[in-house]
Amino acid sequence: MRQKQRDTTTQRGRIRITGFDAERVRNRNPISDWSETESDGGTSRMEYAWRRFKSNRLAMLSVGVMALMTVVAVFARPISVDVAGMSLTVQPFALTPYGPGEMFVGSPNAAPSVEHLMGTDWSGRDLFSRVLVGTRYSLSIGLIATVLALFVGIPLGSIAGYFGGWIDEAIMRLVDVLYAFPFLVLAIGIIAALGQGFWNLILALTITGWISYARLIRGEVLSVKENEYVLAAKALGATDRSIIFRHVIPNAMAPVIVQATLSIGTVVLSAAALGFLGLGLTPGTPEWGTMLSSTRDTIAQGYWWVSVFPGLAIVVFVLAINLMGDGINDALDPQGDTATKQRMQ
């Protein structure tokens, strides 16, 4: 894209320039020794944001926790890929002493001990291994559902904001309708209709997740499109698509990034709640919420560890990601509290 712009041509946009020799401009001696690559243009906005983020100790700590959890997710169990009937081990390490589904590696409902750091559940599965492997589910569900929701919400929201009129009306009414349902009720309806499973869970989370991004970016686009550079781009004959994707969206992204980080936490909590209700992943999956789903009776029997540890894992995960989101928010938007209100929705 860079290259294309630097080509000196008389055929750009609606403007036709006459009496202009492109060949001569390209071959002439430079007027000054200025070159595009050498200019550093001072400290960029992103660098300032990064500096502010670095000085926020709590946010840096949460980045550390998230990094650790990512490592745990990758190295919890070996990962192997089946290629053409052959099992290819991509990642051979195992941090967990036992497989998450291996039954009776210890006696059932054994209290935490040196062999089983977090004890075992009713079928003698090692809870420590299951909690570590659970990181994989929460991390992947949180990331995939948030990214998919962004892919739906950003284009729809910016189209609504940019074009206005009946397109805006149609998209925003759809958003209003979906907003009328509490997340869990709608997700329950979707899962009741489509059935359980990883991708159905992701679908339910995406359908309920994109609306907040659409609303947010629509509002941003409405204010960004009034800027003069958008008018300039229009005057130069840029297409609507390139104005939206090159000029409007990049300038409207800051609050969306904050919202997306914070909503990973919400998505993980929602997935856990669905898992707890027995509607998320199939029973027996070492996902944190699903692990908690039948522990109510074990509490009365005194096996507290079965329900304490998976829940603590959720709290640490969500707390870390929220602190990270708060840190990003403070770094990108040092004066205002603009994101606080959006976070409520």
Partner: protein, 315 residues
């Protein structure tokens, strides 16, 4: 624009949303692979004529748009059909549980507002101090804790270990001392996250107000800090709270679906979750529709209160 004209306009805007809500509720059942009759027929053998009668009974032989209109006609008079499992009227099944859910929701809502607003004010007034920092961390923890796990932990500590509360609801009428006492734990569970969110919002909207010119003016003319906060800042930041109070309703319905499960509270959420494992679609459909309509109405009321408090927003 006068208030009454604003109200009329706002009601007109909610009508398409309400229609959309009915369409989504209707459409959810259409998403099921195969039709409901096929589903019922998996368990029973019926003759082809009886099957035809069944299709005609549920209007499934009509085109989709007509099915929708016929369904809408029934729903408007609260006729949701009958439960596939129990055979009882869906409206009856719901009405016997509605009071329990409303009681739980109301308690949680009061706890959320009652704890969230004062702590938010205190945190804003004492910003930068230890009080502010502690309440901020408490709020972050409250948001990050899954409500069902908090419920389990409360049962573990207060019911199983200390024996202060019962772990399952007593068999008594809703408005009896025993039952209301039992209601404390589930309400606190839902109210915690709710209070955390409200606290954060109140704090930030208070801080925004505190930076405004009129506050400096009020201080400059020698008003006591107490008067400044309560007479000026608080009144203006309460407007934001009204919107949150409405948003909280969706949040609390979410919470009660899960928490009713934790505490075996015989409410609507429990009915809904049970209906899924039994694939009792008329109940799911009615539940989805009712919560949707309830929230549209709550938002409508919030907007009206909002514009009554702050006439600037009616345009």
């Amino acid at each position: 624009m006068s208030l009454s004209r604003y109200i009329v306009k706002r009601i007109l805007v909610s009508i398409p949303v309400l229609i959309g809500v009915t369409m989504v509720s209707f459409g959810l059942v259409q998403l099921i692979p195969g039709d409901p009759i096929e589903f019922i027929l998996q368990f029973t053998n019926v003759s082809p004529e009886a099957e035809q009668r069944l299709y005609a009974k549920y209007n499934l032989d009509e085109p989709l748009w007509k099915q929708y209109l016929l369904w809408l006609q029934d729903v408007i008079v609260l006729d949701f059909g009958e439960s596939i499992i129990s055979g009882r009227d869906v409206a009856y099944e719901i009405s016997t549980r509605l009071d329990h859910t409303i009681a739980l929701g109301l308690f949680s809502w009061l706890i959320g507002l009652g704890v969230g607003i004062p702590t938010g004010i205190i945190a804003a007034v004492k910003r930068g101090t230890i009080t502010d920092e502690v309440s901020r961390i408490a709020a972050l923890l409250g948001i990050a804790t899954p409500n069902f796990w908090l419920g389990l932990m409360l049962i573990l500590v207060l019911s199983v270990n200390l024996g202060i509360f019962r772990a399952i609801p007593p068999d008594a009428p809703l408005f009896s001392v025993a039952k209301l006492k039992f209601l404390i734990l589930p309400s606190v569970t839902i109210g915690t996250a709710s209070a955390s969110l409200i606290m954060r919002l109140v704090r930030s909207s208070m801080l925004q107000e505190l930076n405004k010119e009129y506050v400096r003016m009020a201080r400059a003319k020698g008003l006591s800090e107490r008067t400044v906060i309560f007479k000026h800042v608080l009144r203006n930041s309460m407007i934001a709270v009204v919107t949150v109070a409405a948003i909280q309703i969706a949040f609390i319905i979410n919470g009660s679906v899960v928490i009713e499960q934790v505490f075996s509270w015989p409410g609507l959420g429990r009915l809904l979750v049970r209906s899924i494992s039994q694939r009792d679609f008329p109940i799911i459909q009615a539940g989805v529709l009712m919560t949707g309509v309830a929230i549209v109405i709550a938002n409508l009321l919030a907007d009206i209160v909002y514009s009554w408090l702050d006439p600037r927003i009616r345009y």
